[in-house]
């Protein structure tokens, strides 16, 4: 059995250089460059449209869906939830402003707490601080509220920061990076296998999307789900696909992965919510 797995290593000859690159800034530049070289016909800013940035046929159908996207219902629900009063008379607007246009501030490294704070976490922490129960993490109200907030934040630049005066932030980033590049599950896939090395290839009937731009568009109405879902819901789905047990939504693993993946999309714009296959 060992020899079988070892032989996978032998077949890795994908022309990648050995060694780890210098720091996050260099990582990001090399990451982006990789996709620009792989998909020379895709304008850089278009990568935020996911797989549709590389698949013209699918893009036409996507644009037809975007004529009246199913996530508009979520935005309306989210708007109501956002402004509805907690028992104490306050609302999410007291935490995030009148429109919740704060997508560009997340995810961020919280130095006091030593952890990555995602927008979903911030929403639920606002609720809890006001004596309300938190929403579930993957779908339903959390997706509706963040759909509304993301919609009002469209066009904000992604500029995830890794504070240099806190080594724990870099460690969290490195952990997310390791997640992204490490093979997992019985199918022995890393995120990078499908969404980097073979991005744009067919896996049965699905074309894998480029990871550059992965974090821009959440939450997403996915036709497959027939509902809205958060980024961590999708992470879990991917892990299930490769037959690895998913981590907990909003746990350290996925939060750090989000930190890394979003950092890799620095320079693109937040454009959620979105419709996806």
């Amino acid at each position: 059995m060992k020899t079988i797995i070892r032989s996978t290593l032998g077949t890795l000859g994908l022309g990648l250089a050995l060694g780890v690159s210098a720091g996050p800034v260099e990582d990001q530049a090399a990451f982006q460059k990789y996709y620009e070289n792989k998909f020379p016909n895709t304008p850089v800013m278009d990568f935020q449209n996911g797989v549709y940035s590389i698949l013209p046929e699918a893009r036409e159908q996507w644009e037809a869906i975007e004529e009246f996207p199913p996530y508009e219902i979520a935005i309306e629900n989210g708007e109501k939830l956002y402004h509805s009063k907690f028992a104490n008379g306050k609302s999410l607007a007291d935490c995030f402003g009148p429109e919740g246009a704060v997508r560009g501030q997340y995810p961020f490294w919280d130095k006091d707490r030593g952890m990555v704070i995602t927008m979903e976490r911030a929403v639920n922490e606002c609720r809890e601080a006001n004596g309300e129960k938190p929403y579930g993490w993957k779908k339903g109200k959390i997706a509706d509220v963040t759909a509304y907030m993301s919609f009002n934040s469209r066009g904000q630049e992604i500029k995830v920061d890794i504070p240099s005066d806190d080594p724990r932030a870099l460690a969290a980033y490195e952990e997310g990076k390791e997640q992204f590049y490490t093979k997992r599950g019985q199918l022995n896939f890393a995120c990078a296998d499908c969404h980097m090395l073979t991005a744009g290839n067919l896996y049965r009937a699905d074309t894998t999307s480029p990871a550059f731009g992965h974090a821009t568009s959440w939450p997403v109405f996915r036709s497959k789900w027939q509902s809205m879902g958060t980024l961590h819901r999708r992470f879990a789905g991917c892990h299930n696909n490769i037959r690895a047990n998913p981590y907990k939504a909003q746990g350290t693993e996925y939060s750090n992965l989000e930190y890394f993946v979003t950092y890799m999309s620095n320079g693109l714009e937040f454009n959620g919510p979105a419709a996806r296959k």
Partner: protein, 102 residues
């Protein structure tokens, strides 16, 4: 790419053929061992394969029905999958760095 899958399937096939003379006691012991191995790998690597969980559940379900031969086959399959998970983690501990573009 699907080598991991092959490992899993081969493991299951091998285990199926090697479980004659199973009893309540022997299969219970195997399930306990597999469960212990599972917990250890969780602790060491922080992750699991979904198929290991399934195999463990199948072993317990067969045991509950008194089908000890099946229970042992599933427990052995689980052990092999758990061992493969450990191996994957060991290999990947450094290999992942090769995939980072420079």
């Amino acid at each position: 790419m699907f080598k991991g899958l092959t490992v899993g399937l081969v493991a299951v096939a091998m285990s199926m053929g090697a479980s004659a003379g199973a009893s309540n006691v022997s299969s219970s012991k195997l399930i306990k061992e597999a469960t212990a191995a599972y917990k250890q790998v969780s602790k060491d690597t922080g992750y699991q394969w979904t198929v290991s969980v399934k195999a463990l559940k199948a072993a317990q379900a067969a045991f509950d029905k008194g089908k000890y031969t099946d229970a042992e086959a599933h427990a052995r399959a689980a052990m092999d999958l758990i061992e493969a998970t450990r191996l994957q983690a060991k290999i990947e501990a450094d290999t992942w760095k090769m995939r980072v573009p420079k």
